[in-house]
Symmetry: C2
Subunit: 514 residues, 2 copies
């Protein structure tokens, strides 16, 4: 894999300090089965924290703490023994849940294809009490279930202090309140978006602080956009750009994600759209920061992504499709990615052109302009179905929401035609829908950019607003209002419930409504 040591070193120098805050649990709750509630679980308060501190617990007893809001941080427990001297180790199991399902449904039932090690639990044996346990791992949770495996017949245990040290690299002092004329529901959506972004902002923009806890370029692009409207942490975006730019795959392609520890390392996952997004992220970053030094240094990486992206074009100027997981676009098992990939290539070519002009790279700008024309015309010639008024994708000429949305964002048609394309989507909705907030983001963006701000707001309310009604503290990785247990991983237990790519309503509200 390619390594530009200087870039990686610069990225490491930009590693932010984390802001810490102490958060106390708010109440003791139980989780009750309720068909009306999201995913079938409702919480209800059963006691106060002060009452908890005066109780003691023995074998097989348990309780659930509610921290009142989503937390990313470290947990500390002060435990003492009650009764006769502690004559056996204390066995303790902790389960951390972002959502009620995690503390209600047994983890043993998990049978998905992602590693079950993501499920947040710990089993701890404590030989000597009293003890202050500072658990070394970071957890992501609102709820903590504490289960006493065993004490002994001669002693029980009492929890004198339980608190979380929450961490983030986001500085809340940077936030500007929304004006009072913004409706309350949008105010709520904005606040939850910001909390989502905040909890994902660590030493990189993580995709989800529960899972995968790392920097994915698709998430980064949306986080950066929301960040420019809120926390203005330009250096964190810069660090992430230098990580991706500093460690590429064998042929120079930017990888889909990078790891920070034990040493920065690019993953071997390669996605066509994700490599190209490096160009768009650099474009957005320069727009926000005017950091010309970074632009100059990273432009060769961006240009290389354009060249690699163009290599996939066939003799008709179309992005070659294949049967593998070559392009992300959305978590839809039947979605054909050809048209969206074509559109994303075009979208990124246009941003590349902007950067080339900014840098006065005339030769490269000319080259990119020619490619924009080529990719646009082949899209119109081979992927546009004049009869239905939809873009098609792949050999089956699949019509999907994703293809239309991305073609609108790429500006293959003009703004008026894009508006009509968007209207048509709602009049004759294609069967292949959208499954993630990530894809919904692009729908909303396309609606705003196509002169349909009311529809954009309506759709944002129908999607993110529904999550709020379903009790979201942070916005979720996956949400389908008609299938609330949906998971691309085989179990809703492993879904991330604070997920970067869901944080953009604040970007829309602050960019388009203020």
């Amino acid at each position: 894999m390619g390594m530009h040591q200087k870039f990686v070193e610069l990225a490491e120098k930009l590693t932010p300090d984390l802001h810490e805050s102490i958060v106390l649990p708010k109440s003791v709750i139980e989780v009750v089965a309720d068909e009306e509630a999201f995913q079938g679980w409702r919480t209800q308060e059963t006691g106060s924290i002060s009452a908890l501190q005066s109780k003691s617990f023995g074998k097989d007893e348990s309780f659930i703490l509610d921290f009142g809001d989503h937390q990313v941080g470290y947990i500390s427990l002060s435990i003492k023994s009650v009764g006769s001297p502690q004559d056996a180790p204390l066995g303790l199991k902790l389960i951390f849940g972002e959502m009620p399902c995690e503390v209600a449904e047994p983890f043993d039932s998990y049978d998905g294809w992602l590693s079950k090690s993501w499920l947040q639990e710990e089993t701890i044996y404590v030989d000597v009490l009293p003890a202050v346990l500072k658990l070394p791992r970071r957890y992501c949770f609102r709820y903590v279930k504490m289960m006493i495996i065993d004490t002994s017949r001669k002693f029980t245990v009492s929890f004198t202090d339980i608190h979380c040290t929450a961490v983030t690299s986001a500085d809340v002092r940077e936030l500007t309140p929304l004006p009072a004329n913004i409706p309350a529901d949008l105010q709520a959506i904005d606040a939850i978006s910001i909390k989502t972004l905040q909890d994902c902002m660590q030493t990189v923009f993580e995709d989800g602080p529960k899972r995968d806890r790392r920097l994915w370029i698709g998430d980064l692009r949306l986080q950066a956009l929301a960040n420019y409207q809120t926390f203005h942490h330009h250096d964190l975006v810069k660090r992430c750009l230098y990580l991706f730019g500093g460690m590429t795959l064998d042929d120079g392609a930017v990888g889909a994600c990078v790891f920070e520890k034990p040493n920065p390392l690019v993953d071997d996952t390669r996605l066509y759209d994700y490599s190209l997004f490096f160009v768009a992220i650099l474009f957005d970053y320069y727009e926000a920061s005017k950091d010309r030094e970074a632009l100059v240094e990273l432009w060769p990486v961006a240009l290389e992504q354009i060249q690699i992206g163009l290599e996939r074009l066939d003799e008709y100027g179309l992005v070659r499709d294949d049967e593998t997981w070559w392009c992300f676009t959305d978590w839809h098992p039947e979605l054909n990615k050809q048209a969206s990939a074509q559109a994303i290539l075009l979208y990124c070519l246009k941003r590349g052109l902007g950067l080339a002009k900014e840098l006065e790279k005339d030769q490269e700008a000319t080259f990119i302009s020619e490619q924009i024309d080529r990719v646009t015309s082949s899209a119109l010639q081979h992927l546009w179905d004049e009869k239905t008024g939809f873009f098609v994708s792949g050999v089956t000429k699949q019509v999907s929401w994703a293809s239309q949305v991305w073609m609108a964002l790429a500006g293959v048609l003009n703004e008026e035609e894009n508006g009509q394309l968007m209207d048509r989507l709602f009049e004759s909705p294609p069967e292949i829908g959208m499954t993630t907030p990530y894809m919904y983001h692009h729908l909303i963006e396309a609606l705003f950019e196509s002169g349909r701000p009311e529809k954009a707001l309506e759709q944002m309310r129908a999607y993110w607003g529904e999550m709020v009604k379903d009790g979201a503290d942070c916005f979720w990785e996956i949400y389908n209002p008609n299938d609330k247990k949906l998971s691309p991983y085989g179990s809703n237990l492993i879904n991330s419930y604070c997920h970067a790519w869901s944080c953009t309503p604040t970007y829309f509200i602050r960019k388009y409504l203020l």
Copy 2:
């Protein structure tokens, strides 16, 4: 509870440094069901450690390490990921077993009355590989079962180093080899006795390094005897005597056990025989060490135990029986303790008399002498059944092995009569037998002291020798050759398989055979 701060401070100053040694695993094994094997489990080697290091393991895979001998110490694991970058935490479960049953039978099946937290297992999630895990808890094991809960579809893990840092306060340089004329089977029994003692010698004489990992006075007495013949660690005995003497129960009685951490603390368990044994341990310690300063300081505590012991005598000079767990003697559910308690009182009175004379405490010596006469004559008058030639105990006039053994040790009869009593035990064995090596120790001691050395050796071979044939690396807490899964706790999984009170064959061999 009573606290002589000065005694406790002296005890703390005597806390020994531990000797550390690095122990590597010897082989990879599997445990196979085998009705002929001890407790139904046999181990067989399946691979070498070097072969293990070149393997990698994924979800649900496992292996069992054999360290070749019993270990008490800390485990260190060096783990690296293999394949794509580590994209999920590693979930790892470790089970530590002194015996094959522990790594073969699921701990979930445990349903005994002791805390299941004693079962040695850990579940660990490792976020970043490579990692060197130094587990903070001390374990007691020969076998370690490593189970991979999960990695991910993209990586597996390999174990590049696994080792144990074994700890003990015993100094093996103090050991003297047995002469070559001692038969091989006794050489083996001696070596395993010493290993048992060594592994129990930590910052106190522990009863069992797996469970209960603390200082019990009944175990201490036997460990001290074995220690005087082997490691000569007088200061460790002294530390334990000062801990017991420094922290007594409300009325001044010595407690049955003490805890070291977080601060020295006497347990609230009170046993008639155990309090009295303080006198015997001080007697033995003085005999071995001639530490007159300790004798002078601790004599008041010893005298107080005598006085407290005598308070339990009724108007006939008999120790009052009751229905509670008031006296230990042995783990036999039907054993009546009255006669053994009477004998133990007498045994300790005689040692108290020795100490009083040594200290030239004439008045106290006279008092104790009178009590010896009183307790002896009431035993003969009320507990001796001339017709059967056995001592009886309790209202049911129960005849047990324990009562005869202790009456012989107490010297109620003369040496010749004691020898005949011992012979009678084997000719007409009482139904109420012996269940622990602790009780067997007293049988062997009584045989040696009653002029029956051949019988003593025969019995030692029949008991400890059988454990050796059953594969003991250390001697066990519980052993019944006719019921090898016997446990006083409801499961053989929780028995201690390196237990202090089983370490005394080395004492017999070195005291009576050299």
